[in-house]
């Protein structure tokens, strides 16, 4: 089946919009496709909007409760001059008079912009390159659908999603009593930032023929703009020339809730348009199904290491594992280097100590312990994703190819899970090492490096519970296996905001990470770890038994 290209522009008939001689032909069918994409993604978009909207709405009162007066906010502002803090927040507008609004803008906006960028990248790739890779675009293009319609529809679709998200953000801010003009500006900045990265994804989907690498490249662009903005703002707290190279900075340079200005958003809008034009011109240079980059040849003979189930699992999980390894290590170093400035802050604002669970042991260690819990969530995300790859293998029929060539069902799922477990432990160690190095460098003591690295292993049972739950779903409710992500999302929520919101113990207890003792600050009490190990074991056995007795491909 060869993939044939661009249909002649004017050769199609359409019941809807095309008129003879109309220049709108390449766009014919765009409206219908937007409706199709919205129908496909309705649950997804509503999920993103609710998750981000409610996070905004919940964070504002939470920050208000933690920093009730000017003194506490000023103490908070004092530590934000720390380079690592600047990396994780934004340019320090209004730090000298750190109002509540300045605080919300500074500490919420970056997370918000990154989240919306990720959503936009995923949505665009999902509806363009992933569709093309699967061959479904070809089916659509065989209908009276113009050459540019699928891409245009995907972008309109992501624009609508961003609009909905922006409205949720505005509602969350205004609803919690924030100033209207800046709330609107924050909503618009959110939508435009999302659109910029949606357009970035539109370009990367032209460059590479694989959906997975298209999203990878777009996320890499996001990471670079993230770092460029961070370094730029470290050079000058209000934004240096370097910051202005990053689209994330433009959204933040609106000086939300401090001294609002709208014009930086024009840059975002302009960049989105330019990127779209680039994407369109690239699209005209390639065939349907192909990328601009040629596929390289590989080895014509398999290495011995590939010729087993664990070998195949390692190979298929390689990209994901190395991606997480690098990110967790770098994040560990970045978080760790925050350690010393935190100590000053907690002395002035005791609530912050409560937030990160300090109180026992010295503050540096307590901070390390708190950050470790965040990194462990990342490892949990890796493990669940890696277990759910089994479902992809099954849906594509590739499991059958392995099973009919000598792998037993237990051997297949068991060995795969074993590889995931080993890689998760390695990631915990790496995250712990990175964090230890960061904290050690910041606090000037090398002893803590080893302690934090070893302490990271305490999260093994929690991570295995998350992965085991995914395997149990795969064994018994294969079609609902992606529900395992809900538990990860809940654990992230509990870890990030749960303590601020003072969640009931039962709800917080649904997160396995919550039950892990805060090592190395607390002593590693064995009981919860043993109980979680037992739960992990039960879920794994249940998952394997389920997979053995059900139909493959069900």
């Amino acid at each position: 089946m060869s993939t044939v290209t661009a249909p002649p522009r004017a050769a199609r008939h359409s019941a809807s919009s095309a008129r003879p001689g109309s220049t709108a032909r390449p766009w014919t069918g765009t409206g219908a496709l937007v409706r199709l994409f919205l129908r496909r993604d309705r649950v997804r978009i509503v999920g993103w909007v609710l998750a981000i909207g409610s996070t905004v709405a919940a964070t504002v009162p939470a920050l208000e409760a933690t920093f009730p007066d000017a003194a506490s906010r000023q103490a908070r502002a004092a530590i934000l001059a720390n380079p690592s803090a600047v990396m994780m927040t934004g340019p320090g507008f209004g730090l000298e008079n750190y109002t509540f609004g300045a605080m919300v803008a500074n500490e919420l906006s970056l997370a918000l912009f990154v989240a919306v960028a990720i959503m936009s990248i995923l949505l665009v790739v999902r509806n363009t390159r992933a569709e093309e890779e699967s061959g479904r675009t070809e089916i659509l293009r065989a209908l009276p659908v113009g050459q540019f319609a699928p891409a245009a529809a995907a972008l309109l679709h992501v624009a609508l999603a961003n609009l909905a998200l922006a409205l949720a953000v505005v509602a969350g801010l205004v609803g919690t009593g924030m100033e209207t003009a800046s709330s609107l500006a924050m909503g618009l900045a959110t939508a435009l930032t999302g659109l910029v990265f949606g357009a970035v994804a539109a370009v990367t989907t032209q460059v590479t023929a694989r959906a997975r690498s298209a999203s990878g490249m777009a996320v890499a662009v996001l990471a670079v703009t993230f770092v460029v903005r961070g370094i730029g703002d470290v050079l000058d707290p209000l934004g240096s020339w370097l910051s202005w190279l990053s689209p994330i900075a433009w959204a933040q340079q609106t000086r939300l809730f401090v001294d609002l200005r709208w014009w930086p958003l024009v840059l975002s809008a302009a960049l989105a348009v330019v990127l779209l034009l680039v994407a369109v011109s690239l699209a005209q240079r390639r065939d349907l199904g192909a990328g601009l980059r040629q596929e390289r040849l590989g080895s014509s003979v398999a290495a011995s290491a590939l010729l087993s189930v664990p070998g195949l699992a390692r190979r298929l999980l390689r990209g994901s594992f190395f991606g997480w390894a690098i990110s967790l290590f770098v994040m560990g170093v970045a978080f760790g280097s925050l350690a010393t400035s935190l100590q000053d802050m907690v002395e002035e604002v005791p609530e912050v100590g409560q937030w990160i669970g300090a109180g026992r042991g010295d503050l540096t260690t307590a901070f390390g312990a708190a950050m470790l819990a965040f990194l462990a969530l990342g490892v949990g995300g890796f493990a669940v994703g890696a277990v759910l790859r089994l479902r992809t293998e099954e849906e594509t029929g590739r499991v059958e190819a392995m099973l009919t060539t000598g792998a037993s069902r237990l051997g297949w799922a068991g060995a795969w899970f074993g590889v995931v477990a080993v890689q998760a432990v390695l990631l915990l160690l790496l995250a712990g090492l990175g964090l230890g190095l960061g904290v050690g460098a910041a606090a000037g003591e090398s002893g803590i490096i080893g302690r934090i690295t070893v302490a990271a292993l305490a999260y093994t049972p929690a991570v295995l519970v998350l992965a085991g739950f995914a395997l149990a779903l795969l064994g018994w409710l294969p079609r609902a296996a992606s529900l395992a992500w809900a538990v990860v999302a809940w654990a992230v929520f509990v870890g990030w905001i749960g303590a601020l919101l003072d969640l009931p113990g039962v709800l917080a207890g649904l997160s396995p990470v919550h039950h892990t003792p805060a090592v190395p600050a607390e002593s590693a009490s064995a009981a919860p770890l043993l109980v979680m190990s037992l739960i992990a074991l039960v879920t794994v056995v249940a998952g394997l038994v389920g997979f053995r007795r059900r139909d493959v491909g069900a």
């Binding site: 089946m1 590989g298 099973l403």
Partner: protein
């Protein structure tokens, strides 16, 4: 009668309300090439996946190579090779890597002469990533892996659906070679001519049930060619000729079926009578079902037409 490589009795498999297999029987003798014929959606793939132990039958028995296909699946899989109807490969592995992976329990295919020979015969570049392969090339990867495997039983689910005629000929040749070596082959298809070309026995499945089963000689009535001709002459001589069935005449338009063994004799008669126009076409599955089982054909109808040679 030799031993049976496949013995399935009264298989029932339901998916929700749909009954994919409804008391299906299938026996394949060791050393034979068995054809498995039926329109799309008739239960061919479901049967094969039950025989592989991927699906568990609701009732009935499925013994393959003397083993229970569900309970002894792993032992069974060491002794068979399977090519799925819709081949999906790992997109970022090369064809060569996938062939080695799928033949990993049969030591030695890497770099073996047989592997190289099959790659050459099927004209397949093993260094290319699987995502760059067309449907036909993906199918070739799976076929090379299966044919590399030195096993007792080969299961092919519509193996030629993505292959061009040249590659189809290579495949036919390789399957014949398997028969010479005494291997058993089960080959599913919706194309009667393909089964006719290769198979010793045929089982026809329809709506999850075996409607006909036997050797090709026993099913000879299924393989009559259809003849249409335009003639002004009296067709009585044809009507009386041996091997001619179901002759109808509509104006000058003549239509009948003829046994393949009698074709040259009938051609002689037609030449004597004198015709303005003549078509002889192999029976399509669609006609076969219409003629012998008297029900509507459903999704196979279009396919049948497409296969027809005019």
């Amino acid at each position: 009668m030799g031993t049976f490589a496949i013995e399935a009795h009264q298989l029932v498999k339901t998916f929700g309300a749909a009954r994919a297999l409804d008391g299906f029987d299938l026996t394949v003798e060791t050393g034979q090439i068995a054809g498995f014929l039926g329109p799309n959606g008739s239960g061919k793939s479901t049967t094969i996946r039950v025989l592989l132990g991927m699906l568990r039958a609701d009732s009935g028995t499925a013994d393959v190579l003397g083993l229970d296909s569900w309970r002894d699946a792993v032992d069974l899989h060491r002794r068979l090779a399977y090519v799925a109807g819709d081949v999906s490969l790992w997109p970022n592995l090369t064809g060569g890597e996938i062939i080695d992976l799928l033949t990993r329990i049969h030591r030695g295919p890497r770099g073996s002469a047989r592997r190289a020979q099959l790659l050459e015969r099927f004209d397949l570049d093993p260094a290319k990533k699987a995502r760059t392969y067309s449907k036909g090339n993906r199918q070739k990867v799976a076929l090379v892996a299966a044919l590399c495997s030195d096993v007792e039983l080969y299961l092919f689910d519509e193996p030629t659906s993505g292959l061009d005629p040249l590659m189809e000929a290579v495949f036919t040749d390789e399957v014949r070679r398997l028969r010479e070596q005494g291997r058993t082959v089960l080959l599913s298809s919706h194309i009667l001519a393909e089964v006719e070309k290769l198979c010793d026995t045929v089982t026809i499945i329809r709506g999850g049930r075996a409607v006909e089963s036997g050797t090709l000689a026993q099913l000879r009535h299924l393989t009559r060619s259809a003849v249409t001709a335009t003639t002004t002459a009296d067709p009585a001589v044809l009507r009386a000729a041996p091997g001619v069935h179901d002759l109808t005449r509509d104006n000058h338009y003549l239509r009948f079926d003829v046994d393949d063994s009698q074709i040259s004799a009938v051609l002689g008669l037609l030449a004597q009578v004198g015709v303005q126009n003549l078509t002889i076409s192999p029976p399509s599955l669609e006609e076969l079902f219409l003629r012998h089982y008297g029900d509507d054909v459903g999704p196979a109808a279009d396919l049948g037409k497409a296969e027809r040679v005019r």
